[in-house]
């Protein structure tokens, strides 16, 4: 009880010394926490967030681009009703690949596992937008005269398909947010988020989102 009284009446010099003495570890722990969380946020989190998935067949865009007449649209074409075909179906591939045309192991796998078994190739689409997004290719490519590269990058110049990184939470591709986890971009095709759509629509003073109403609005893109 006496001791307690003493403590209450005079804080005593020991307390102040103790605080001063703990200043070092406190800062150290702060820095540890800071660096640790920065490492988690910038390095561990992105590594954990995405799963790496190989494409079923390693497709060579350069090779195919050299063999067709109409560039990207030779395979990624518009249908008569204006809708966009997207990734080619087996029916298109079969036009040339009913039998393997080379010794290439990827082509042989393709013919054996898919063409002969009449199975569609489960391609993973890097640019597949969430289902709540409505995007019309024909409005951008035909009416807006944009080229494919602006959004999709020089994918036509690749000889091999990169690994598809799937977001474990959303199930969509990493390419929507972009390679850079901070969301920074150098090229117009580095990201495919809503801000990127808006940026282009604002900068280029293009027609507003809706051709019909001449206005922008949530329901133009989010049906």
């Amino acid at each position: 009880m006496e001791e307690l009284k003493a403590n209450l009446t005079s804080p005593g010099p020991e307390h102040g010394e103790k605080e001063d003495g703990a200043g070092g570890p406190i800062i150290l722990f702060f820095i540890l926490g800071l660096i640790g969380s920065l490492l988690v946020g910038w390095v561990a989190f992105p590594a954990l967030l995405y799963s790496q998935k190989k494409q079923p067949i390693d497709f060579n865009h350069v090779l195919h681009n050299g063999l067709v007449d109409n560039g990207c649209e030779s395979c990624h074409f518009f249908r008569e009703d204006g809708s966009y075909s997207g990734v080619p179906k087996l029916a298109q591939c079969v036009q040339c690949h009913e039998e393997a045309n080379s010794e290439n192991s990827e082509e042989i796998t393709f013919v054996e596992d898919y063409v002969k078994k009449e199975r569609e190739v489960p391609w993973r689409v890097y640019s597949r937008q969430p289902d709540c997004v409505f995007f019309s290719h024909v409005a951008h490519v035909k009416t807006g005269k944009m080229d494919c590269v602006t959004c999709h990058g020089p994918i036509g110049e690749t000889e091999s398909l990169k690994v598809y990184e799937q977001n474990r939470i959303t199930g969509y591709s990493r390419d929507l947010w972009g390679r850079n986890i901070a969301g920074l971009k150098r090229n117009s095709w580095d990201r495919m988020k809503m801000d990127d759509c808006a940026e282009c629509h604002e900068q280029a003073h293009l027609v507003p989102g809706s051709v019909q109403t001449q206005k922008d609005g949530c329901f133009v893109c989010h049906k």
Binding site: L28, V40, S83, G86, K89, P130, C132, N167, G183
Partner: protein, 733 residues
């Protein structure tokens, strides 16, 4: 160095600062919002090429053209076909929900056999062989007539194949499910002499007098009549609805005339009385093209003077006279009948009276009138060779009594089958085939029907769905669903021109089902002999193509063929005139309003069934979407609501929403009460189409089947089902 609480807090603060400076929280927020906006378990229509397939809807006899949108191989929407003569882009709620009948859970996915009360899958070959062996035994015993077939239609190639099978097998017992078509066909046959379907040129009429017909509640071909009624009204036409209850059609009419139920025929005769007395009829038509008007004067004599009719119907005498004058004074008046959606055929005298009204104003086979549309005649197959067993069997009387004695003029009497089955030591039907129909549910007095069916040793259902009749069958040989198969649609109910529709596969069959037409041929081959010889087609599709001949290409392309230049033919009676009276009509007993069965003291109220566009009551069960959009004045959770007048409720001590027990001489049911000013005191009204025990969890166990509580009433003249109500009692639960 001592590590204490402060160090820990410091670490946490540093961690929080570092986390805030990293992309983690922002990226996580973004990802979680994307995830929550696109729940992975929500079904998403596939992406791919969109195509449209033109077809004809076969969910009801309406014959509407449909355009089915597909993404790749998946059906995503059913729309009305623009430019189609019947529905021109319109589609009813059932048609629009058709996808659920393709992908829904109540499909029967493979042939099944009931073994010890449980369903077992069986191969097609084995099922056909087993059924064929029973059929062969019956023939060997000389009882081919003990095989019967129930079908929703007697027209089109599938129905004709079934009938042909029975004929060469040796049974006259092909039975069509009842509907108002039976009574209309009879009225046309009696007065005009031809077996024809009644078409209604409603759009061109200027005054429509409807005797309880639910023009916007499923009567005839719904999208055709919805549109025709709107066109008629937009052109200044008027409509009077005579009905005991303020139905949706009555609410949309210019005039609603409440009438004591079951007395509609008396009102029609009362109107005839006024028109004849006041000379309000088209004299040139009546004098030159009709015969027997003097007899009609007698039929609609003094007994049908306005005062007497007023007492019978509850409508004021002046209102009757006014109505007769308004009807006769209109440029193109049209009178129609068939209660609600026309599910129950009704009293043929009533149809005759209404048809006479049309004849008096010259509205027969003319613009804005009733058109006799000839029965389709494109099925021209060679007569099959019959062996002695078949010829003998075909000479036996029909099990339902149609075509004999009292019912000589009636073609099908399914309503009389349960009674015939119950009589005698053994069931007169040993094998029953049921295609596209669900009599155990949809026949009036369904409980007696189901009980009688239990006496049949072998029931084979061709249903695509696990309906009530399929559930009590011994074998199910599932047909393709309507979006998976070819089918000719030989007419559109109530449409005033001959039209043939083609229903064609929109997707490949999803399950191990077979077209009933093909199965009939396979059964015939398995039975062998002349029966096999009667079916020389390779497949149903080949048969259909050959049958439709030069129309096939047009049908494949447009989905329909219409006789645009059609002009109704002459009357085929002996006098070549429209006959108000003749020997056949004279055989019918005099008109007398049919009473609802039951004792009035024990059952002080009268129960009537009404129809809703949001429920089906026939072979096709309501898909989940229909049940979902049912008003809460019809169904609350699993309870059906019955409509009663607030005055009736006061007398019974019931209030809105209170639970009650509805009793009729046929049974009891738990219901809830909905107070409705639009129904006469003393009546109870309940929706038709609920109370299923079969199908899926979306439909089964909800509400009450009106047919379970109803009793059959036979039209004394024709034997057709004429039940419009039954005495009932409502007590507080």
């Amino acid at each position: 160095m001592k590590i204490d609480r402060r160090c820990f807090l410091s670490f946490v603060i540093g961690g929080a600062a570092g986390t805030a400076l990293s992309p983690l929280p922002w990226k996580l927020t973004d990802d979680l919002s994307i995830w929550s906006q696109n729940w992975p378990w929500t079904p998403i229509p596939p992406k791919g090429e969109t195509t449209y397939v033109t077809s004809t809807c076969t969910l009801c006899p309406g014959g509407c053209g449909i355009s089915v949108r597909r993404v790749e191989e998946r059906v995503v929407k059913v729309e009305g076909l623009k430019g189609h003569p019947v529905n021109d882009g319109g589609v009813c709620i059932l048609g629009a929900s058709g996808i659920q009948l393709l992908y829904g859970p109540s499909r029967v996915q493979a042939p099944m056999k009931k073994v010890d009360g449980a369903w077992r899958s069986i191969s097609w070959d084995q099922a056909i062989a087993e059924i064929a062996s029973t059929l062969k035994e019956l023939r060997a015993k000389g009882q081919p007539q003990s095989v019967a077939w129930i079908s929703d239609t007697d027209r089109g190639t599938t129905a004709e194949l079934c009938r042909r099978f029975l004929t060469v097998y040796g049974s006259p017992n092909f039975i069509r499910t009842p509907s108002m078509q039976d009574a209309y066909e009879m009225a046309l046959y009696l007065t005009q002499g031809n077996r024809a379907m009644a078409g209604f040129d409603l759009a061109q009429a200027t005054f429509v007098l409807s005797f309880s017909s639910g023009l916007i509640e499923g009567w005839g071909s719904p999208p055709y009549l919805f549109r025709a009624k709107s066109v008629m009204r937009q052109k200044g036409g008027r409509m009077s609805q005579v009905e005991a209850r303020l139905s949706k059609t009555a609410a949309k009419a210019d005039q609603w005339i409440p009438i004591k139920p079951g007395t509609e025929g008396a009102l029609a005769l009362g109107l005839i009385h006024v028109m004849l007395k006041e000379g309000l009829y088209k004299k040139d038509f009546v004098e030159t093209r009709t015969g027997g008007v003097e007899a009609l004067r007698k039929i609609a004599g003094d007994a049908y003077a306005p005062e007497g009719v007023s007492r019978t119907t509850g409508i004021e005498a002046k209102a009757i006279i006014d109505l007769a004058r308004a009807f006769a004074g209109a440029k193109k008046p049209l009178a129609i009948c068939g209660r609600g959606s026309g599910r129950v055929p009704g009293f043929v005298q009533e149809y005759l009276a209404v048809h006479f009204l049309n004849a008096l104003v010259g509205g027969i086979n003319t613009s804005g009138g009733v058109i006799a549309v000839p029965e389709p005649d494109y099925i021209e197959w060679p007569e099959p060779e019959m062996d002695a067993v078949a010829s003998k069997g075909m000479q036996q009387p029909r099990v339902d009594g149609a075509g004999n004695g009292r019912y000589a003029m009636t073609r099908y009497l399914l309503n009389r089958l349960p009674e015939a089955l119950a009589a005698g030591a053994a069931s007169p039907v040993q094998v029953l085939f049921v295609s596209s129909s669900n009599p155990a549910y949809s026949l009036v007095d369904s409980q007696s029907t189901a009980k009688a069916f239990k006496r049949i040793p072998l029931i084979v259902s061709f249903s695509s769905y696990m309906d009530e009749t399929a559930a009590m069958a011994h074998y199910i040989l599932p047909n393709h669903a309507y979006l998976e198969r070819f089918e000719d649609v030989p007419a559109a109910l109530g449409f005033p021109k001959p039209i043939i529709g083609l229903s064609k596969p929109v997707v490949s069959p999803l399950f191990k089902t077979r077209h009933t037409g093909d199965v009939v041929m396979q059964l015939a081959k398995a039975v062998g002999g002349t029966i096999a010889g009667a079916f020389r087609w390779e497949s149903y599709e080949a048969c259909l193509k050959q049958t439709l001949g030069d129309k096939w290409d047009a049908l494949r392309k447009n989905g329909y063929w219409v006789d645009a230049k059609f002009a109704p033919g002459a009357f085929e009676t002996k006098s070549k005139k429209f006959e108000f009276a003749n020997a056949d009509i004279a055989k019918l007993p005099a008109y007398a309003s049919l009473k609802a069965p039951g004792d009035e003291t024990s059952f002080p109220l009268t129960l009537m069934a009404y129809d809703s566009m949001r429920l089906t009551a026939g072979y096709i069960g309501s898909p989940p979407f229909l049940v979902k959009v049912l008003e809460d004045t019809i169904l609350k959770k699993s309870d059906v609501l019955v409509e009663i007048n607030p005055a009736t409720a006061r007398d019974l001590g019931l209030s809105d929403g209170s639970s009650a027990v509805l009793s009729t001489p046929k049974g009891n049911a738990s219901v809830k009460v909905f107070l409705f000013e639009g129904i006469m005191p003393g009546l109870v009204s309940m929706v038709r189409g609920l109370g299923h025990t079969a199908y899926d969890r979306f439909l089964a166990g909800k509400g009450v089947n009106t047919n379970d509580l109803m009793g059959s009433v036979e039209d004394p003249g024709t034997g057709l089902e004429a039940a419009w109500g039954i005495r009932a009692k409502l007590t507080k639960a």
